[in-house]
């Protein structure tokens, strides 16, 4: 801002009659642009964050549904999910399992096998243990990938829309 008090009438006032000066406009526009851009960026981030939050909500729902279901499933069924035999699992926006072609599907999940869980003391950090380095066959680690882009050709190709969860399952039924 210019200090007007030592110069009498405002010089700029005469100029203003002819409208906003270019500099004035440029300054205002700059300010506005800067602020708008900043705000838009913030809004964008906020929207992204909001979307992420929504996605988190949804994907956690899917994770919760899958984890609670998988704890009780026979392992051969889980195998079929891993191999894709059972297909992917589709969810609507409230976490219900839906058909893959359903219009309301908003998430899709796939299961990846990570093998047996290595226990502490069994190669997982237990250097003092005399236990052999082996994983427990009845403790199975899987990764659940949930994509919020179920309709994409490859929903899991864009990592921005994919969340990964780790889950350790135990074999409840008899030993195979």
């Amino acid at each position: 801002m210019v200090n007007q008090s030592s110069r009498g009438p405002v010089v700029l006032g005469a100029q203003s009659r002819a409208g906003f000066s270019l500099a004035e406009v440029m300054m205002a526009a700059g300010i506005v642009a800067t602020i708008v851009v900043a705000l838009l960026a913030l809004a964008g981030q906020t929207l992204t964050s909001s979307t992420d939050s929504f996605d988190r909500f949804e994907t956690v729902r899917a994770y919760q549904a899958i984890s609670s279901q998988f704890q009780m499933l026979p392992w051969d069924r889980i195998d079929r999910y891993i191999t894709g035999e059972e297909g992917r699992i589709y969810f609507d926006d409230v976490g219900r399992v839906v058909d893959r072609d359903a219009l309301e599907s908003s998430m899709v999940a796939r299961i990846l096998d990570k093998g047996g869980l290595a226990l502490p003391g069994e190669g997982g950090g237990g250097a003092e243990s005399d236990a052999p380095d082996r994983s427990r066959r009845d403790l199975r680690q899987i990764t659940i990938e949930v994509s919020t882009r179920p309709l994409m050709e490859d929903p899991f190709s864009d990592s921005r829309h994919v969340r990964r969860f780790s889950l350790t399952l135990v074999q409840l039924d008899q030993e195979r």
């Binding site: 919760q64 704890q71 502490p120 003391g121 997982g124 427990r136 350790t168």
Partner: protein, 1345 residues
């Protein structure tokens, strides 16, 4: 000049508008955007919170999964090569390498059920090093207190709530729970239970803090946390073993009951007169309902048993009202309450009843919320233990049932279900079956398979199950090593057969009043007794022919022969030739009665010389399974070789081969009150062969009653039914001169066969030695020679018919008369003869042998009497009669029972070492016909006379045991005291096999006008059928395989007086308590110890509800109560609950005497005035729990529940005792050997009895675990090194505390399950651990408010 005064202003204003507008818009946009941002941030936080919440929940599953995996790994038998034992916080596994010191296999691995950096550890594991360090609370990144309390304040003052163990519990005075110097105890953790954190990375990797970490945690291993894979959570957990708690669905309040075995206050009053009725489970031996809740709950709700019955599901008060009320056949069964099972301990808060609005009201017993918080650590609603043997294969159920399902009652079906698997190849039962029952509608035609020694084993499944057990016992035993084939190379098969036959013939022989599909009346496996007047009386009621498998034989419930007497009696007299009182050559009395002794004036008598004589045989019978119900024989006895007996060269006119059918139902004999109402003693009635049933094919009736056989009719004498075939057909002449005559002995062969199937189950060889014997004569009572008429009333001197026709109470005096000559061969008491091993008087050898060699028998009577030419009587016949001493066969004239006449007899006879002292109540025959089970005590001397230094040092007339005559103590081959049984009620002790109790309260008897006795325990042979099944219960009949404990283990290897050892205190033990015994103490201690036989069997519990399921039983308590890693918390309450109502019995030898306290086997008019029952002292320092503590302090645990049999039970006086105790009633654990030494008159079955009550309620393996956990969702501080966890900077995003209840179980209908009985023991599939599944049965969040 200014134009217009406002223009500049306006211009100024206008000039600022743009900026203002811009700024306003910007501000507005900012506000909007920031609001949006704020909202989104809130939403984001919310979504993170939700996500954290979900993920911490999933994290809380991880610890459960880890524990399940640990349990699965630990319980994998690896092909049956190892076993496991659980305890709170840990499972240990053991292989088959035997430690030569202990007989137990060394530790193989431990599987921790609590979070620890090593969840598994090998044999280097040291139990004493376990536990949190004292400074655990300064290592907050590594340790966390699972029991950390939270402060709550609702309306009242603040109080602490604990997730696991409330320390207020310790102030309640509950015996068995205490805490010894908990490490790091402070205000924030008053009772800490710290365990280590395990950290979870984002990719699921589990890491343990490096040892030595405190608040800054580093991790070991290759897979360390990173920025991309940070620590996201941590878990801490500890799994409690639910079997270490008391199950509120099975326990109630036990009141001890056992089969009466003494004439003492407790046995006669509390056990006989107040026996439990049907559904009074709280008194059934070994039933889970006898486990008591009062040791835990008494501080809250008192000790009144009725209170606990209100709490316990299905258990109700009634019947004997915990032993307070007498019962009889009219006492109704206890009506079960209809309470449902508790789902959790919390339900204790509520009453089982609902109010009018359908809501459950709080219980009125005083169990409030605070109390439940405290006792939760001690109680459970879900404990369950596997019924799987150490080889990881099914146990065999003890309960025998019929092969045909139509012949099973409801209880049978449930019990069979519990021991059956259903595979795709069919149903596989693991119990023994019986081919057929007695046909109640055709009792004289269809006797069923009990009368065959082979029929039941024709069931293919029986053969397979038998072979299954046979193969298992060949295997090295996991957890212990070594095998029974190695231990009992000659006897293993015989032991197995004895066990199988014990179940077949000792259990469930009649179940009347329990309908089956075929018969609403129930069934009887053995020939039935008469059920009502319209039902014909079957012959042979209760008899079961011994089972034969290959060359082994069981005991069955039938007769064997322990003595055979040849009686030569005069039949014609020359009255012109009186016989002098004394022998002309020796000066000895002529008659020399069996119980005669020098100087006894009563027997100074004479008679007339006989000119003719006859002979007959008398057989003494033996059964190794006395008890109830009493039984009648139905056998055919063939004697071969009689024709060659000669007296003075004359034939005795006996048929060479004579078969006599023994079939008369003894309880139908008119004089049954004297003869007995059936056999329930070691010796059967001696007189039974004298009777026959005129028409065996017809029911017993007034016109078809047992009748004396024909003794002289030649036609009848060849008839096995009507004739007494072992009698001379005609008289034979006696030489006119001489006082001596030569008896030429003969080799006899006696064959015993089922009269139904014709199968011979025993052949006995006998050798009668030659001997010079006195000449028979006709005896005349002193001073009556001149009065003696030639005919009656002296006919009995010359007529067997006349003798047998006497009143039955005179038979002992009249069947053999003073002028007769008797020579017996009887079962020897010797351990060896001429270098040959003999059974040492253990009559069980006789009962279990299909072929009995002649060497086991020897000349009858006192040593030297058989060949003594002046001894008329060389025999020791005994009869199992109405009253014990009546059966001691004698020739006492005139006076029934041989009692009154002796009132004036001198009590001391002779001088010096030959001095004989006779008790005032001495019965003439007793000491002549028996021996002693306790060496050096009571009634034994080299001459079989009653010599002792005082009247208290001898066995009273009523307490003479059933042993080979002349036995001076039941001694093993090594000379140490051996195993024998206490008789039931006041019946004799002897060489028995501890038959299960099948009695009931139906039989009643007023004894001596003042004592009422139910059950027939104090009236020999008395038994009445429980027509309504008011007392019938499988679990009352048999609690556990500990009942096998009297089965001999040395029949084939000729090791007498050795039976299966299921207690630590056999009489032969000399190793002090607390020191490992060895085989010198008892062969049962050699490895593998005998108690491991127990592991092969089980008794399912199906009343009052299915407490047992296939392969598991609820409510068992774990012997391993030590808590890992919190060893400072002592929770002994489970064992205390099991033993709370336990009693034990110990008998000092003086109890066998009449003086000074009465006799323990006397009549009910002369009760033993001292107490022989004790409570159990549970003190951990010097009481019973000392044995437990010693095991834990050595770093070891129990591998099998059967190891309880290695621990001494320490007695203490009963609070209810009305009589004083003999000796020290309060010994310490270390004094137990000496204490038992003072109680040497305690039978093996009584020593083992407490273990029969305890074993079925104990376990070392649990199927149910409660996982207490604490999990956190955490975030690494961004500025920290990602590989290091800094507890100070880290952020806890979410936390969960709570517990999860998990159970391992088997689906008995699993289609892939093989038939374990036929599967190879090398078959990996044929092990049960492969078929276990897991389920979560309860989740509980710790949310106190």
């Amino acid at each position: 000049m200014r134009k217009g005064g406002r223009a500049p202003y306006q211009r100024r204003h206008e000039r600022g508008v743009a900026l203002v507008v811009v700024l306003a818009v910007v501000v507005l946009m900012s506000v909007l955007i920031l609001s949006l941002v704020s909202l989104v941030r809130l939403e984001t936080r919310s979504s993170f919170a939700h996500s954290d919440s979900v993920e911490v929940d999933v994290l809380a599953e991880l610890q459960t999964n880890l524990v399940i995996s640990q349990i699965r790994a630990a319980t994998d038998s690896q092909g049956g090569s190892r076993t496991w034992a659980s305890q709170p916080g840990m499972i240990r596994t053991f292989g088959t390498q035997t430690d030569p010191e202990t007989g137990r296999a060394g530790l193989e691995r431990v599987y921790r059920l609590y979070s620890h950096r090593h969840l598994e550890e090998g044999e280097s594991f040291n139990a004493s090093e376990q536990g949190p360090p004292a400074d655990w609370n300064s290592q907050t990144g590594r340790y966390v207190d699972l029991n950390e309390p939270v402060v709550i304040s609702k309306t009242g003052p603040k109080r602490l709530r604990y997730p696991i163990l409330d320390p207020d519990l310790l102030d309640r005075g509950i015996a068995g729970i205490e805490v010894e110097s908990a490490p790091g105890r402070d205000d924030s953790s008053p009772l800490p239970m710290p365990v280590e954190w395990l950290y979870v990375l984002a990719d699921g990797t589990l890491l343990a803090p490096r040892a030595g970490s405190d608040t800054t945690i580093r991790f070991d291993g290759d897979h360390l946390p990173s920025r991309d894979n940070p620590v996201v959570g941590r878990i801490a957990f500890w799994a409690d073993d639910e079997s270490s708690k008391v199950n509120i669905n099975t326990a109630s309040e036990g009141t001890f009951w056992d089969m009466p075995r003494a004439n003492s206050h407790f046995d006669a009053d509390s056990y006989s007169e107040r026996q439990p009725v049907r559904n009074e489970f709280q008194r059934y031996p070994g039933h889970p309902a006898t486990t008591s809740l009062s040791p835990i709950l008494a501080p809250y709700i008192g000790e009144d048993p009725a209170t606990y019955f209100k709490l316990a599901p299905f258990v109700a008060d009634g019947g004997s009202y915990s032993g307070e009320m007498e019962v009889d056949h009219e006492t109704p069964p206890v009506s079960l309450d209809s309470d449902r099972l508790y789902a959790s301990v919390d339900e204790y808060f509520f009453s089982p009843d609902t109010d009018t609005s359908g809501l459950r009201a709080p219980n009125a017993l005083g169990l409030d919320e605070a109390a439940l918080e405290e006792v939760r650590f001690l109680l459970t609603a879900h404990s369950r233990s596997p019924e799987v043997n150490l080889h990881d294969r099914p146990r065999v159920s003890l309960w025998p049932t019929q092969h045909d399902p139509q012949d099973r009652n409801a209880v049978d079906r449930l019990l069979a279900f519990c021991a059956t698997t259903q595979g795709i190849d069919g149903r596989f039962p693991y119990y023994f079956q019986r081919l057929s029952t007695h046909d109640l509608d055709s009792p004289l035609v269809n006797y069923g398979s009990s009368q065959s020694s082979t029929a039941d084993m024709q069931i293919l499944r029986n053969q397979l199950v038998y072979q299954y057990l046979n193969r298992l016992t060949d295997q090295s035993i996991p957890g212990f090593g070594s095998d029974f084939r190695e231990k009992y190379p000659e006897d293993k098969g015989q032991i197995l057969t004895s066990m199988v036959d014990y179940l077949r013939s000792g259990l469930n022989t009649l179940a009347i009043g329990l309908p089956t599909d075929r018969d609403a009346r129930g069934y009887s496996y053995s020939p039935s007794r008469r059920l009502d007047e319209s039902t014909p009386q079957a012959l042979g009621s209760g008899q079961i022919i011994p089972l034969r498998i290959a060359d082994t034989q069981g005991f069955g419930r039938s007769v064997s022969v322990s003595e055979v007497s040849l009686v030569i009696y005069p039949t014609a007299v020359d009255r012109n030739r009186p016989v002098p009182e004394r022998d002309a050559e020796t000066g000895e009395l002529v008659h020399s009665l069996i119980f005669d002794y020098p100087g006894r004036p009563k027997n100074v008598a004479a008679g007339y010389r006989a000119t003719e004589a006859r002979a007959f045989l008398m057989l003494e019978f033996f059964s190794a399974s006395p008890g109830l119900p009493s039984w009648n024989p139905l056998v055919s006895i063939k004697v071969n070789g009689l024709a060659d007996f000669r007296l003075g060269g004359q034939s005795l006119n006996l048929a060479d081969e004579a078969t006599l059918d023994l079939h008369a139902p003894i309880d139908s004999i008119a004089a049954a009150s004297y003869v007995g109402k059936g056999n329930s003693n070691g010796h059967m009635s001696l007189y039974q062969p004298f009777f026959y049933l005129p028409d065996p094919a017809a029911p017993v009736s007034d016109s078809n009653r047992p009748t004396l056989r024909s003794f002289t009719d030649l036609q009848d004498l060849s008839d096995p039914v009507r004739g007494y075939v072992w009698h001379s057909a005609t008289s034979f002449p006696l030489p006119p001169d001489g006082d001596r005559i030569e008896l030429s002995g003969e080799n006899l062969e006696i064959s015993l066969a089922s009269l139904v199937s014709g199968e011979i189950y025993q052949t006995i060889e006998l050798e009668f030695p030659d001997a010079i014997v006195p000449m028979p004569y006709v005896w005349v009572e002193s001073g009556k020679m001149a009065e003696t008429p030639p005919g009656a009333p002296w006919d009995h001197e010359t007529s067997l018919l006349s003798r047998a026709s006497r009143d039955p109470d005179e038979w002992p005096n009249y069947l053999i008369r003073p002028g007769d000559v008797v020579r017996s061969v009887e079962f020897r008491s010797d351990l060896e003869m001429a270098g040959e091993d003999l059974p040492g008087g253990d009559l069980r050898f006789l009962a279990a042998s299909a072929e009995v060699p002649a060497e086991w028998f020897g000349p009858g009577g006192a040593p030297g009497h058989y060949e003594d030419p002046i001894r008329r009587f060389a025999m020791g016949l005994r009869s199992g009669d109405h009253w014990q001493y009546w059966g001691h066969f004698r020739t006492e004239p005139h006076h029934q029972h041989g009692n009154d006449v002796l009132a004036s007899a001198p009590h001391e006879i002779g001088e010096g070492e030959d001095r004989e002292i006779h008790h005032p109540y001495w019965r003439a025959s007793s000491w002549r016909t028996s021996g002693s089970l306790v060496e050096g005590f009571a009634g034994y001397s080299a001459t079989h006379l009653d010599i002792g230094s005082s009247p208290t040092g001898r066995i009273y007339r009523d307490a003479h045991p059933v042993v080979a005559r002349g036995l001076n103590g039941a001694k093993r081959r090594d000379g140490r005291p051996g195993d024998w049984d206490q008789g039931y009620g006041n019946t004799e002790d002897g060489a028995f096999i501890n038959k299960p109790d099948e009695s009931n309260a139906t039989q009643k008897w007023w004894n001596f006008g003042s004592n009422y006795n139910s059950g027939g325990y104090y009236r020999r042979g008395a038994f009445a059928v429980d027509l309504e099944g008011r007392n019938h219960s499988p679990n009352r009949q048999i609690a556990s395989p500990v009942m096998f404990g009297s089965l001999p283990t040395g029949i084939r290897s000729m090791r007498p007086w050795e039976t299966l050892l299921f207690c630590p205190n056999p009489d032969g033990r000399t190793t002090p308590a607390g020191v490992e015994p060895d085989q010198n103490d008892h062969i049962g201690f050699s490895f593998p110890r005998d108690h491991l036989w127990l592991d092969l069997f089980w008794m399912p519990v199906t009343e009052p509800y299915a407490i047992s399921e296939p392969f598991s039983t609820a409510g068992k308590v774990n012997l391993n109560y030590e808590i890992m890693p919190f060893r400072y918390i002592k929770r002994r309450t489970g064992i205390a609950a099991v033993m709370h109502s336990m009693e034990m019995m110990a008998v000092p030898p003086i109890a066998l005497s009449r003086e000074p306290f009465g006799c323990i086997k006397g009549g009910r008019d002369q009760a033993f005035e001292r107490e022989v029952r004790y409570a159990v002292n549970l003190d951990p320092e010097d009481g019973t729990l000392r044995g437990f503590e010693d095991r834990f302090e050595s770093g070891d645990v129990f591998r099998s529940a059967s190891e309880i049999c290695e621990l001494f039970l320490v007695p203490q006086p009963l609070e209810e005792a009305e009589q004083p105790y003999l000796g020290n009633p309060n010994p310490g654990y270390s004094e137990m050997l000496e204490w038992w030494g003072e109680n040497r008159a305690t039978g093996d079955n009584v020593r083992e009895m407490p273990y029969n009550h305890l074993y079925p309620r104990l376990t070392t393996q649990s199927n149910v675990y409660q996982v207490h956990y604490r999990v956190q969702r955490v975030k690494h501080a961004p500025s920290d090194d990602p590989e290091v966890w800094n507890e100070e900077n880290a952020i806890v995003l979410a936390e969960r505390r709570g517990s999860t209840l998990i159970e391992r179980y088997i689906d008995p209908n699993e289609p892939t399950m093989p038939d374990f009985a036929t599967a190879s023991l090398d078959d990996e599939e044929a092990r049960l651990s492969r078929y276990y599944r897991f389920r979560v049965i309860q989740k509980r969040r710790f949310l106190p408010w």
